[in-house]
Symmetry: C2
Amino acid sequence: MDRILLGHGAGGRLMHSLIREHFSGAFGMAELLDAARLSLEGRRVAMSTDSYVVKPLFFPGGDIGELSVYGTVNDLSMVGARPLCLTVGFILEEGLPLEDLRRIVASMARAAQRAGVALVAGDTKVVERGKGDGMFINTAGLGLLPEGLELVPSRMSPGDVVILSGPVGEHGIAVMAERNGLSFEPPLRSDTRPLNDLVQKMLQAGEGLKVLRDPTRGGLATTLKELALQSGLNILVREEDIPVSPQVRGAAELLGLDPLYVACEGVLVAVAGAPVAEYLLALMREHPDGVQARAIGEVLPPEGSEPRVVLQTAIGGQRMLEMLLAEQLPRIC
Amino acid sequence: MDRILLGHGAGGRLMHSLIREHFSGAFGMAELLDAARLSLEGRRVAMSTDSYVVKPLFFPGGDIGELSVYGTVNDLSMVGARPLCLTVGFILEEGLPLEDLRRIVASMARAAQRAGVALVAGDTKVVERGKGDGMFINTAGLGLLPEGLELVPSRMSPGDVVILSGPVGEHGIAVMAERNGLSFEPPLRSDTRPLNDLVQKMLQAGEGLKVLRDPTRGGLATTLKELALQSGLNILVREEDIPVSPQVRGAAELLGLDPLYVACEGVLVAVAGAPVAEYLLALMREHPDGVQARAIGEVLPPEGSEPRVVLQTAIGGQRMLEMLLAEQLPRIC
């Protein structure tokens, strides 16, 4: 394999090996978190970047512009940072209707306002017809990181509780349904939303909150497996406690997808010490974006050579959750 | 005109109207500088972003990776900031040889080391074959801005001296020659280089240094016209004082290009008060990246309705320099 495959961008195992073999060493990036944590003359800050290539540009519940704002806001939030500002880079394909650009720019402005961040710098490039695909957007963000806050997998320990803020799979299924010309009544909508306000509330739980992750590319299963590998611990989750809307379940079956591997854009996974778990859940449920929060499993001691994620199925069986291998959902964000 | 044209990305008039009509208002970006200037809890910082879509990925004197590091380092430097770190977003086309990626990543690592910046966060997306063009790279950068430093066109005044750090047109001509299969002996090479070290030296000139710009897309002529429009003043430059290498001149003629409109990636334009101009020039010439620095013109009082840039030609005539209208050089950076 000496060429880039679609799966290299899918958030799963292929992408991880690409990062490990090609990027981490060359760039000296030791941590693989959603955002980099830095010290700026004694002030702790976080930086993050994401490019957005979602197809189509407009989908039920959102568009590429909104997604590009919330996605980076959320990445900053997952290390506990308070997002302050974003930069925006457009790569436009010759022939893109200006009206599409106008709508997407307006959507970004609204999203930035909702998330309370400023869009501070921009860039526009244009490529020839057939050398792009309508529009790609990159956003990079800067946030302030509270002193002493360390949301990292190495702080996880056996007995910790795994919490999920809401139902999974909504973004990916909404995009795939739109792409395949499927429509549902009531419509399936992406869950894209900013999570920074919810996270600010969750930080009130204090040190017992150990890790935050948003299960985007690769879905919940891939995120859990990452946490297992990065902490060196096993994770057990209960299928019956993982909320999946009946609509998403139905559409996923129709599309041949497993909702546990489908991208979310508006929920988060938290790992918290058992003593604060109930308090954290209560905090989350007070927030409009966390009303459906629930404990879905727990962290277990290591066992064997590779840390595992075990799904306890509704009928009492067990299934190992691995990382998404290649892609089931290209260009989902 | 209701669709995106290649010229919308060329750095000239079309791009400026796109920014004015579609971005500035929606995003609330008042200033149009190379980098945004922000206050982060009392600390002044600068942020900037650029996407790189240069074609081909490898060209004499550089590659897209190196360019993407130096380009953003230079944008931060143009507001006087000291660049600290960059984020990197890759958009890869399915089928890209992994060896190309490896070479470009290595080149970025070297460039970051040379410029003294850290590459702190990254993202990789993959699009289907035919929906991209090998590789696009976005970088966004964060820099520290010294207290009190204001490098803005509103500080320009009649009598100021316009200084150029080196010969123009080398990057654009090198890329276009490569793209057109022309080769020269000795080879034409891109001038891509980090300018942050030169700028740090120039800041010793103090308050007399008023503006810095790197004439990338649109070239020197477009940059000067921007400065005239943003300051509301006229600018006079002398053709015979603007260094263009004989090779660039020859290749530009062959390609039907005007070197004054061709992108540079390693020179800068400075506007300085007359009292410090000689000292500033001396500082620049002490630096390896500024040995060819020279005064090329001066700032004049306004005259008529629209600020003008007048080129005094070598044969004693005058020519108005306008912004590049559309593109003569698509995908040059």
